[in-house]
Amino acid sequence: MTPPVKASRIERHPAPEGRDRMVAEQVPRDGRTRGVRRGLAVAGIPLLVLVVFFAVWEFASKSGWQPDYILPAPSDVANDLWKDRGGYWDNAQTTLTEILIGFPIGLVLGLVIGGLIGMVASLRRTAYPFVVASQSLPTLALAPLLVLWFGFGVVPKVILVVQVVFFPITVATVAGLVSVPQQALVFGRTLGAGWWQLFVKIRVPASLPHVFSGLKIAASYAAVAAVIAEFAGAESGLGALMLRANDNLQTEAVFGALILITAIGVGFFALMSLLERLIVPWHEQYRKDGDR
């Protein structure tokens, strides 16, 4: 069984001179200084693309390639936004109100339904399919029906916002609760930890990163849903403004409303990202530095 052995030996080598000093000089711990420059590089390219894009657009419009009512120049759109800022603001307020009412309702609904489905295995089989089905309802087609039932006011818009917000949050909450580290739960259970203790100390924090990814998706949907609901019939709101402007061939106002809607969506998304950084700072960090 013993393998044939040629003369084996170990030869030890001395460390090169100055090694001790080398070890003391450490690599910078965090890459923040590098990060700023890298951040500029990352932000710089999209910015450049944007500038070129608007320049080409401006040129195409001003050169008479297309008439103003087809393609207004960015400068005209900006001008209109400024000139009629009072009107834009009134309409934006309506849309924002719809989102600000609908989003929290959708959030709470998503957390509660997701929480129940995530915690109760039998619900995952019975109730989850219905939740998924609710999302397969074509939102666009639902809007006129809601207007028919609830009128031209805020209610149908809020309902639609709730409908698009609650789903990603439900799914994310379920995913979060299901992915809780089982071994931490076992550790707790053997020490006699109760259901509530495990829920608060392990399940909730473990699922928060998932919930936030759902929140970010929901935030970007909310503005879209409000505008679509307004298309189906509204007295005010950015969607209503867009429709009216379109009918009157005030195309620069259509673009103006579009820009504001986009800004609201991006703003909500940014707000959620900020909250994510504040509330679950370990998550991003963990993914960046983690080697697992």
């Binding site: 020490l191 928060l208 960090q285």
Partner: protein
């Protein structure tokens, strides 16, 4: 909870069998295990991967009920969870939203210990485990060995007398593992709490245990019991060098390979026959990790 005594004396598995239902089919995991572990014993458990080692732990902890036989603690049948048990796993299972100190006090929190008291004990423990200065670090900033030390400390700080260590060093590199083994030997020496230690590594089983329980493949039973006579306190290097160690190891490997009807050679393909797989140990480690509940 059994309230027979405040002090852990014995854990006894008497003819314990277990099977679970998977899609209408009964899957037997444990055919029958008789095992008794007394206070201050250090027992290691080896067996092929997926043989039901972790199930055995869950039975001992009272998280699972045996479908045959009995689990007795201090001579009385175990009802509910075993009040003497604290767990530790292969993956440190550290909470990423807590720093090292927060992770270390988790067990004490579950036990309802006052915050100040828990903290004081934790700071002392951190010093003892060589983790001073790392209180505010997060798990992902630590090396694998340090993470396992945090998890071990967390388990130790529960003051539970029966420690169930489920392949705690299984995911570590060889050198770190050796350091941790020596660390555990030294730490055990101080208060000699009862340890049951699962591993798939025969070296580790012999180095650490007073007694090695060798398990058969699933559905499992106790294939052999090895009394390990190395004097304590043990020094890892000395033990690993001892001729008796090599002798015991050879016998155990033969037993595990032949009697478990595994087609895997223990040391790759020593004689060129049979499908030797040197990567087996690593792979089985990962499989165990997957099946660990």
């Amino acid at each position: 909870m059994s309230r027979s005594s405040d002090r852990f004396e014995t854990l006894a598995l008497k003819g314990v069998g277990h099977q679970f239902r998977a899609g209408g089919e009964l899957v037997p995991t444990i055919a029958g295990v008789d095992l008794e572990v007394g206070r201050s014993e250090f027992v290691t458990v080896v067996g092929p991967s997926g043989c039901g080692k972790s199930t055995l732990f869950n039975l001992a902890a009272g998280l699972l009920r045996p479908t045959a036989g009995q689990v007795k603690v201090n001579g009385e049948p175990l009802e509910g969870t075993n009040p003497y048990v604290a767990y530790m796993f292969q993956q440190a299972a550290l909470l990423e939203w807590r720093d090292v100190l927060g992770n270390v006090v988790l067990g004490q929190e579950f036990l309802g210990m006052p915050k100040g008291e828990a903290r004081a004990a934790a700071m002392e423990g951190l010093a003892e485990f060589g983790l001073s200065g790392f209180e505010r670090r997060r798990a992902w900033e630590l090396s694998g060995g340090m993470r396992q030390r945090v998890a071990l400390l967390r388990t130790y700080l529960t003051q539970r007398e029966l420690l169930l260590l489920d392949e705690p060093f299984g995911a570590l590199d060889a050198l770190t593992r050796l350091q941790m083994q020596q660390f555990l030997l030294d730490r055990w020496q101080r208060d000699q709490r009862t340890v049951i230690f699962i591993t798939h590594d025969v070296d580790e089983a012999l180095l650490l245990g007073d007694r090695v329980i060798v398990l058969a493949p699933r559905p499992t039973y106790v294939l052999a019991t090895v009394e390990v006579g190395f004097e304590r306190p043990r020094n890892a290097e000395e033990v690993l060098r001892a001729p008796e160690f090599t002798e015991l190891k050879t016998q155990m490997l033969e037993m595990l390979v032949v009697d478990s009807e595994s087609e895997v050679e223990p040391d790759g393909s020593a004689n060129g026959s049979g499908p030797g797989r040197p990567a087996e140990a690593e792979r089985s480690a990962r499989q165990d990790a997957g099946s660990g509940e």
